[in-house]
Amino acid sequence: MNAIRALVLTDWKLLVRDRGALFLTFVLPPVFFAIFASIFGGMSGGDDGTFEPLRVVAIDADGTETSRAFLRALLEQEALVEAPLEAPAPTDLVGAASVVRRGDADAAVLVAKGFEASFARFWESPPRLEIVYDAANPISRFTLEGLAQASVFRAAPTALMDAGFDALEELGASTTPEQRDALDRLRVLIDGAREEGADAAADGDEPSGGAAMSSFVDVASVPATEYRAPGDGTDAASPGVVDYYAAAIGVMFLLFSMAGAAGSLLEEEERGTLERLLTSGIGLGPVLAGHFVFFALVGCAQLATMFAFGAVVFGMHLSDAQVVVGLLVVGATTAAAASAFALMLATACRTRAQLAGLSTVVILVMSALGGSMVPRFVMPAFMNSVSHFTFNGWALDGFQAVLWRRDPNGSMADLLGSVALPVAVLLLATVAFFVVARRLARRWETI
């Protein structure tokens, strides 16, 4: 009994004196809980304003009272907001797809010409909607499709009724003033019922849409990357969630493997080879640069392996030259930044054990915030903003630009332009990380 008490007591003393272990044991779990609670709490919360509504570009190609009423009803939905655009709003789907690819909107909806004319003509083709959505955010598609169906009911009852009576009159059955009066009263009743229906929908009581609803509007949805201008016969592959996770998981494990590799620097210090290296006249700068180059090359190879695996096993479409070049540029930049970041972590630590603890905490937190664990499109607005302070956030921005938001009609210059910002940020981060690492490594310098 005494022996067990002595062992427990000693273990306790060791734990209390190990700040890293204390942090991992008592601080990290609540931090992660807070991060995931913020992400998923924001998803379901809605009313507290933390959920980011989908930014939608609405195009009315029909220009009729019915199409206007439909779009008004659609954009009144709480889950949607008209995308705030600096440039003039696009007037066709080609322009809208471009806006979505740029990330300025999550989706675009076009009310096709003839919408009103085909409305309520149930024996003919239903009115047509075209949706272009961000492939990196598949939720935008399903949300918009569902809300479009719901909006038919919000906007269309009176239009349906009017269309029906118009049809009767066209067939020669004109209405009397009494009938018109009754019709107006009925319209008031329908409007009242519509309001109640909308309230019920807001409370979540409205049944989900199905085949019967879809018969009112015919919705054609296509990811922005796949969207082609009419007449353009080229093929394009539709990216999916697999593409997202290939990059997301790839970036997270790139950071882990780089941090592990950078531990060799501390191992060299412990073993004495670093001192021997420096004594042989190689300066600290070249030593760090040598490690940086090697780690970056390993990082490139690791990302290439990840995407090749994704292509072979999960059918990621990487055959397009623009995609390959884009992945090379973003991948190389990401690997370089990860390499410099890992060097910075290693130089900040005194032992490999310290590095293992610190890198685990930092990488897991950045991965959770930056979208490597949970897709950013399900994050609430403020979490999305926070992701821009993380390494993963910018790296995933670059990969998204290549894999999901690429303009299939665009040139190589367009593609490179679309990744310019994340690439520039990552390059700046690379320089900053390396400079910090060099400063932290001053303890190894000649004293």
């Binding site: 073993r271 004495g272 080879t273 001192e275 021997r276 290296l277 420096l278 004594t279 042989s280 006249g281 190689i282 300066g283 000649t446 004293i447």
Partner: protein, 307 residues
């Protein structure tokens, strides 16, 4: 005209906070000379060696190799200097040959020449038959030999050796000294820091004892013994009988053993025998001991622990 010293340290001073590591060290090592640099822990040996290697920036003083002053790295030409660290600074997951190639390249050995130098080093260390084995599988002695070879691939003319035989068995130690003897034959100057005073005494031409950041003794072993302990000899006598130690100038060491120190052994010792016999006692055993480097070292630096 005297030859230019292989290594000359002049007025080297270095302070770390409140602690004075070097307090004006002057030291010269001639080409081909073997100097043992001794001193208790914290005496300043490592700081001095690191200053010569360029890893410590001196507050004052200078270091010159073959007449050319060298500053802290990267200042100065240290191509004729080899530094063998005390740690086994090798890559355990590389083979012996790969380690030699790696460090040889970093020491500036031309790629065309590297293969020949590596082959020679493997022969020199007796590791030719283990050239393609991982260093992790080597014994302590093998690693030590390889550790030395990795610092000498550029064939330096002056070598700093930090505790080259620490932690190895007597056989490996002997092999290492054989290796270093070949360097001596080549005319390489060596500065050896060690706590193995017997080794320092046996292999070195000259000795420098460093304490509190200063060179407190410098010369051959005989010079140092003469300067510190004089020409006297220590004697231990076993005496039968109740002898009055104080009256005879003896130090009682217990169990009938007494110590004495004589400056003129040949005249003073017979006289002591006569006086002891006259007092009714008998000297049954005598041990005349030549003073060792250890005696001089303790005499100079004291018995106080340095930690």
């Amino acid at each position: 005209m005297a030859a230019t010293p292989a290594l000359r340290v002049t007025g080297a001073a270095k302070r770390f906070g409140d602690r004075e590591a070097l307090a004006g060290v002057d030291l010269e090592v001639a080409p081909g000379e073997w100097l043992a640099l001794l001193g208790p822990n914290g005496a300043g040996k490592t700081t001095l060696v690191r200053a010569v290697a360029g890893r410590v920036r001196l507050d004052a003083g200078s270091v010159a190799l073959f007449g050319d002053e060298v500053g802290p790295l990267p200042r100065g030409d240290r191509s004729r200097l080899g530094v063998v660290p005390q740690e086994i600074a090798l890559h355990p997951k590389l083979r012996a040959r790969e380690n030699l190639e790696h460090w040889g390249a970093l020491l500036g050995v031309a790629s065309g020449e590297l293969g020949v130098r590596v082959g020679e080093a493997l022969e020199w260390t007796g590791l030719a038959d283990r050239a393609d084995d991982l260093v992790a599988s080597f014994s302590g002695g093998m690693k030590r030999r390889l550790n030395i070879a990795c610092s000498l691939l550029h064939v330096p003319d002056v070598v700093l050796l930090d505790e080259p035989t620490v932690g190895v068995d007597p056989q490996s130690r002997a092999r290492i000294w054989e290796m270093l003897a070949e360097l001596r034959a080549r005319g390489t100057a060596i500065v050896l820091t060690t706590h193995q005073l017997d080794e320092a005494q046996s292999v070195s031409d000259t000795i420098a004892i460093l304490d509190h950041g200063r060179v407190i003794a410098r010369g051959t072993l005989d010079d140092i013994l003469r300067d510190t302990l004089g020409a006297g000899r220590g004697v231990e006598l076993r005496i039968d009988g109740d002898v009055d130690a104080g009256a005879f100038g003896l130090e009682a060491l217990g169990d009938g053993v007494y110590g004495a120190r004589f400056t003129q052994l040949t005249t003073e010792l017979p006289r002591l025998f006569e006086r002891v016999a006259a007092s009714g006692c008998t000297v049954v055993d005598v041990d005349v001991r030549r003073p060792s480097l250890q005696d001089a070292f303790i005499h100079l630096t004291g018995r106080e622990l340095r930690e």
